[in-house]
């Protein structure tokens, strides 16, 4: 379908993007466009103004920020997947960026766009959540930092307001003691996850500590599997309790029951893969 008519403005800086967003109640940000354009074409949304931030070159970077790696919001998935700093300090993020969609999607889609879109079936939100990363959000009153745990608030909803711009994402550096895995179950190579699991922990005393497990598409937002994390830390069976507290959707890719089952299988496999790494 053809989108409803809209006005189009190009922002040359984050400040300009924020100011353009402030001009209209229903303005929307355009970055890589891989989530926004399908919604426009389906007329699921009909913003009267698109603010194109895709040309703000200074928002595309991967930098060492001390204890963390900072990633500019407009960094394409392909660039995240191939960034040497991430491959060295947080291979979980680069690995997962390389699993998103297909090569065309990865060369257009951006990390900021993927997070701001708030799709519970996307890969990177769960990864950010498992890693305890944070997001810088720029608005008219300056920049504020939101923890991953507070960022995802509902289906296609995040803590970033309608007049704000996601500017930077930070993920902690992993050490040699860290183990991780990301498993995605999907029907076709380019499909969203029916269920996905991001698992990360620290080796400790023959087992692990600081276990973090985040689930994809098991509820309205990416969510931590707290019971499974506790079981992993305690040397128990994380798989058996992996679906505790989830509210998975039912759709043509799987019923809620099947998703619960998949979450248990995938958590078991992710923990095994991480531990063997």
């Amino acid at each position: 379908m053809i989108p409803a008519p809209f006005d189009y403005e190009v922002a040359e800086s984050v400040d300009e993007a924020v100011s353009l967003l402030g001009e209209r109640e229903d303005a929307k940000l355009l970055a890589g466009g891989h989530s926004l354009l399908p919604l426009l074409r389906l007329r699921a949304i009909r913003p009267s103004l698109l603010v194109d931030m895709g040309r703000i070159k200074e928002l595309s970077y991967v930098r060492d920020a001390g204890n963390s790696i900072a990633i500019g919001a407009l960094t394409r998935h392909h660039d995240v997947a191939t960034a040497p700093l991430l491959q060295e300090h947080n291979p979980l993020v680069s690995h997962v960026a390389g699993l998103i969609g297909d090569p065309q999607v990865r060369h257009r889609g951006t990390i900021g766009g993927s997070l701001a879109h708030g799709d519970p079936a996307s890969d990177l939100p769960a990864v950010l959540l498992a890693l305890g990363g944070e997001v810088d959000v720029a608005g008219a009153d300056g920049v504020r930092t939101v923890a991953a745990a507070d960022f995802f608030t509902g289906v296609f909803q995040t803590a970033a307001g309608a007049k704000e711009v996601v500017a930077e994402v930070r993920v902690p550096k992993l050490t040699g003691d860290h183990v991780w895995s990301y498993l995605k179950f999907h029907r076709r190579a380019q499909d969203w996850a029916t269920v996905g699991v991001a698992a990360v922990a620290k080796r400790a005393n023959g087992g692990v500590s600081d276990a973090a497990i985040a689930l994809v598409n098991m509820g309205a937002t990416p969510m931590r599997a707290a019971a499974a994390e506790a079981a992993w830390n305690a040397g128990g069976d994380p798989a058996a309790v992996a679906d505790e507290g989830t509210e998975p959707p039912s759709d043509t890719n799987g019923s809620a029951d099947f998703r619960r089952h998949l979450a248990r299988v995938l958590v078991g496999r992710a923990v095994a893969e991480a531990t063997a790494r």
Binding site: R188, A189, D191, T252, G254, F258, H261, L262
Partner: protein, 346 residues
């Protein structure tokens, strides 16, 4: 493969191997018109071909078939080039526009080559018949003294090509008494019988008994589609048929909710697979000319789609047979496979 299948099972590997076979004989090339009449089909089963040997040395072919990706333009040009001694790129195939080609029974049911292609053979025979008369006249010999080899007509002392004869036919300066100028023929071919391709296909799948996921590891297709006009096109037709058939077994499904709403109405929910979902097809063939037409051709468009759903589903059930699974509905989605296993575990 059977050894690996057994050793995986023995080792308790949750990913089982399954091997599935499927053999078939297809009835295609619709159809003798009398048969269609007997089953109260509204139309006949013939098809048409017109060959127009132009004075310029090229040839126009008007076909009643309607190619939409099957490559008739190429294969039909090959048939005419072969039968009448033209180069393939001297043959122009016209189709699909009723102002050019008003008479035809279309492209479906693996019938185009076996009916429309054979019509072309007979139209070429009509061209050759007239060309031979003109050749004999120009050589001043009896028709019986002229031998035809493709598009070359040889008398006791000289040879004429179909291009030279076409030029003579259209200038019409010196034709046999009473002969209509021009070198053009139409043929309406009504097949006396169907064509009967057959084959044997083998699928190897890996079934994840924990997630229900089915991975197609290998697919071997051996078909007999009679005389092959263009091997690359035949392979492409088989590949396309396999993709469609495997997809029917594993991916594509129209799903409705309780209220009758179609839930798979978009390309994100109706799972058309991509190349990433398939192995490299292993395609072989035997070539037994069909006895039902002079080209020896059979249909090919549907062979892959006929054999592959059965081969893949047999492989899926084979992988789970020792678990007690005897049947899974198509498509074998991960959830269906999981539920089938849950059913026999209960």
């Amino acid at each position: 493969m059977r050894a690996e299948q057994a050793s995986r099972r023995k080792a308790g590997d949750p990913k089982r191997l399954g091997i599935g076979l499927s053999t078939y004989v297809e009835m295609c090339g619709l159809a003798p018109s009398r048969v269609l009449g007997a089953i109260r089909y509204a139309a006949g089963g013939w098809d048409t071909a017109t060959i127009r040997c132009l004075p310029t040395g090229t040839v126009q072919v008007v076909t009643g078939t309607s190619p939409h990706g099957q490559g008739h333009e190429t294969s039909w040009a090959q048939i005419v080039a072969d039968r009448l001694g033209y180069e393939v790129d001297e043959v122009e195939v016209l189709h699909g526009d009723t102002s050019v080609s008003p008479l035809g029974m279309d492209t479906y049911g693996s019938r185009s080559l076996a009916v429309g292609g054979v019509a072309l053979y007979f139209a070429a025979e009509r061209i050759a018949e007239k060309a031979k008369k003109i050749a004999a006249h120009r050589m001043g010999v009896a028709e019986a003294q002229v031998e035809r080899d493709g598009g070359t007509f040889t008398g006791p002392e000289q040879s004429l090509t179909v291009k030279e004869i076409a030029f003579a036919a259209w200038t019409a300066h010196d034709l046999p008494d009473g002969m209509e100028p021009g070198l053009e023929a139409m043929y309406v071919y009504d097949p006396p019988n169907f064509s009967w391709p057959g084959g044997a296909h083998l699928a190897v799948v890996e079934v994840d008994t924990e997630t229900g996921n089915v991975d197609l590891l290998r697919y071997v297709a051996v078909d007999d589609v009679g005389t092959v006009i263009n091997p690359l096109i035949v392979e492409g037709q088989v590949h396309g048929g396999l993709a469609q058939g495997v997809s029917q077994a594993l991916y594509e499904e129209a799903v409705y909710d309780e209220d009758g709403n179609l839930l798979t109405a978009s390309m994100t929910t109706y799972l058309v697979p991509s190349a990433a979902e398939f192995p490299a097809w292993e395609v072989g063939r035997t070539e037994t000319p069909s006895p039902t037409n002079p080209l020896g051709v059979k249909g090919v468009g549907e062979t892959g789609a006929i054999a592959s759903p059965a081969a893949v589903m047999n492989a899926v059930v084979d992988a789970l047979a020792e678990d007690g699974v005897t049947d899974i509905a198509m498509p074998a989605t991960p959830e269906r496979v999981w539920r089938a296993l849950e059913g026999v575990r209960a």
